[in-house]
């Protein structure tokens, strides 16, 4: 039963390894899709179990925590694993038609499975060094994917992406080493327990800052965001889309995990810093987007501004704010991946994503216009779409916490997000095409590209119209994050006595 937690990591791994042995594309493709589908099913089962019993813990090799490595699924992890698997299979389906054959043949599907494995591993691990290893698994797969095909632009972007992420990993490793030197354990629950019993703010704050910078680079928060708009628009759209949806969110997830579980006592010192960073992240992202005239570049900058909202929710650290953040994460992953994929269809049909060179798509591709309209205005926060409820929860939480300046910033950024989305809408869809150009591909043949987009749009609509169920789950996840005792006790059952003394 507990082994269930291993499946979302293990299945993509098996699919990738077998795919590497059989080197033909059809085998790799089928294996990749079957693997992702199976992983999605296992993630659904995992979420079901976690909903019932709150926590699921697996001690690998039966070495008891805190000595062995544990995999822990609480609600937040289970939700994130499920959403990453769903996005994994949908974007993989999209790449069948959208990524060119030469790239697909160079181990695209095994690498992609490895990437999802790394992401899921990072969501599930309960060990700080193991988290570092999962980061590296994820990074090396993403390095190869982003440079796959070796276009000049891709290489330039990939190099910046690689250097910044390697430096951030090194900072994380240094932080983990210092933390081990201080508390003598690597198990996250045990770290939390030891720090709760014997606080030492001096060393912990220095480690917390190292972690903040390292995860901040991965999450692309201000001032560490510049690698993202320089690289995310260069690879094929399917790759940018899965990166945009998942990779920065791993950074946000680890920030949430570490700052609610074991850095919670130094939180007062960090709260103001996080709030200011959140505000600046929101503003730089949205202002950067305003200056862009390429669909994917605009969307890349919007990832940054949306990350700001999540950091704001984390910084407020109230039940409503955290629930809003969890809801925001899910909403954002779906919507952002969706928008990148729509951009991919436009680039496929028209051959470019430059807004000045395209137009008239509303008339030419009315169905695509609808598929763009819903996620774009969800991102802008128009009721009753999912983005509205996510923003509403965060804004209400900031008013409740009486941090009115961040409320103001988040509302202004919301309006400016809408401005950017209407810019794409007006330029690409409404204005007349600047010159009559032949479609590069007949849109009707792109069924495999349309299908994943349509499914994501339905998910966005569902989250918006029937979001209450999801929000209740998000509230439970937030409750778990705010009461780390449950997490500690689930991982180290013999710690009951120590916890009761706290």
């Amino acid at each position: 039963m507990n082994n269930l937690i291993l499946l979302p990591v293990f299945i993509p791994f098996v699919a990738a390894i077998i795919g590497l042995i059989f080197r033909t594309l059809p085998v790799q493709r089928t294996l990749g899709l079957i693997g992702m589908a199976a992983a999605t099913i296992s993630a659904i089962l995992l979420l079901n179990v976690v909903m019932e019993q709150d926590y699921l813990v697996l001690s690998l090799g039966a070495w008891q925590a805190p000595f062995g490595i544990v995999l822990v699924a609480d609600l937040l992890s289970a939700i994130m694993v499920l959403i990453s698997c769903i996005m994994g299979i949908l974007v993989m389906l999209f790449s069948v038609q959208s990524v060119d054959n030469a790239r697909q043949k160079t181990f695209y599907y095994p690498l992609y499975s490895m990437l999802i494995m790394g992401v899921n591993g990072a969501f599930l691990t309960g060990d700080i060094f193991n988290l570092y290893v999962w980061f590296e698994v994820m990074l090396i797969a993403s390095f190869v994917l982003i440079s796959l095909g070796a276009d000049r632009a891709q290489l330039e972007g990939a190099f910046k992406y690689m250097v910044l992420n390697l430096v951030s990993s090194l900072l994380f490793l240094a932080g983990a080493g210092l933390l081990y030197a201080k508390v003598g354990t690597l198990n996250m629950a045990d770290i939390a327990l030891k720090l709760a019993i014997q606080p030492d703010s001096f060393l912990i704050n220095s480690t917390a800052i190292l972690f903040l910078i390292s995860f901040g680079v991965k999450a692309a928060i201000f001032p560490f965001f510049f690698w993202l708009p320089a690289s995310y628009h260069t690879p094929p759209t399917a790759i940018s889309a899965i990166f945009a949806g998942l990779l920065t969110k791993v950074g946000v997830y680890t920030l949430m995990r570490s700052f609610t579980l074991f850095f919670n006592q130094s939180f007062e010192f960090l709260q103001d810093i996080l709030l200011i960073l959140a505000a600046l992240t929101m503003l730089t992202g949205v202002l950067g987007a305003a200056a862009q005239y390429n669909i994917r570049r605009i969307l890349s900058f919007h990832i940054i501004s949306q990350i700001g909202y999540m950091i704001m929710g984390l910084a407020l650290l109230t039940p409503l704010a955290l629930a809003g953040t969890v809801f925001y994460l899910v909403h954002h992953i779906i919507v952002k991946t969706n928008l990148f994929l729509v951009g991919g269809v436009i680039e496929k049909v028209k051959g470019t994503g430059e807004l000045s060179k395209i137009g008239g798509l509303y008339r030419a591709l009315p169905f695509l216009a609808l598929l763009f309209f819903i996620p774009a205005f969800s991102l802008g926060g128009i009721p009753p779409l999912s983005g509205f409820w996510a923003k509403f929860a965060l804004v209400k939480a900031s008013i409740d916490a009486e941090v009115f300046w961040i409320t103001a910033v988040s509302l202004i950024v919301g309006v400016m997000t809408l401005f950017s989305m209407t810019k794409i809408w007006a330029e690409a869809f409404w204005k007349d095409a600047p010159e009559e150009t032949e479609n590069k591909v007949e849109p009707k043949t792109l069924k495999l590209m349309y299908a994943p987009i349509a499914i994501m749009v339905l998910m966005t609509l569902y989250l918006g119209l029937f979001g209450q169920g999801m929000f209740e789950v998000a509230e439970r996840a937030a409750d778990q994050l705010l009461n780390p005792e449950g997490y500690i006790q689930a991982v180290i059952p013999q710690s009951t006595e120590a916890i009761s003394k706290l």
Binding site: E136, A153, L155, E156, A158, K160, L173, Q292
Partner: protein
């Protein structure tokens, strides 16, 4: 001994950051390698450097006796070295391809994808 190691770590970090701030791609990779070594040393010396008995559990005992070394940082640093080796190999390969395709070893010439 700890002081010496601390000074070495500091020197490696300084050299690494200096290389990272240069404009050449090759020096960038060297800088990452140096930083990686500094962090490995930091993790290795995390639990203090002292002469101690090898971490072997006596046949009659169940736990480590007093005065034995902590084996964990060494296990960690081995893993970190292996991962670091893989990443440095990849960055050298990427650097090679980037140099071939763009004809530049100068980072300032690689700003076409920036905004």
């Amino acid at each position: 001994m700890s002081t010496l190691i601390a000074i070495i770590i500091g020197a490696l970090v300084a050299a690494g950051v200096y290389c990272l701030l240069r404009r050449s791609l090759m020096k960038l990779v060297i800088g990452i390698a140096l930083l990686g070594q500094a962090v490995n040393l930091l993790v290795f010396s995390a639990n203090g450097l002292k002469s101690a008995n090898p971490p072997l559990i006596e046949a009659s005992a169940k736990t480590l006796a007093e005065g034995t070394a902590d084996p964990l940082p060494q296990a960690l640093v081995l893993t970190a070295i292996v991962i670091g080796f893989g990443l440095i190999s990849f960055s050298l390969a990427l650097m090679g391809v980037t140099y071939q395709k763009t004809g530049h070893d100068d980072i300032d010439a690689l700003t076409n994808t920036d905004t």
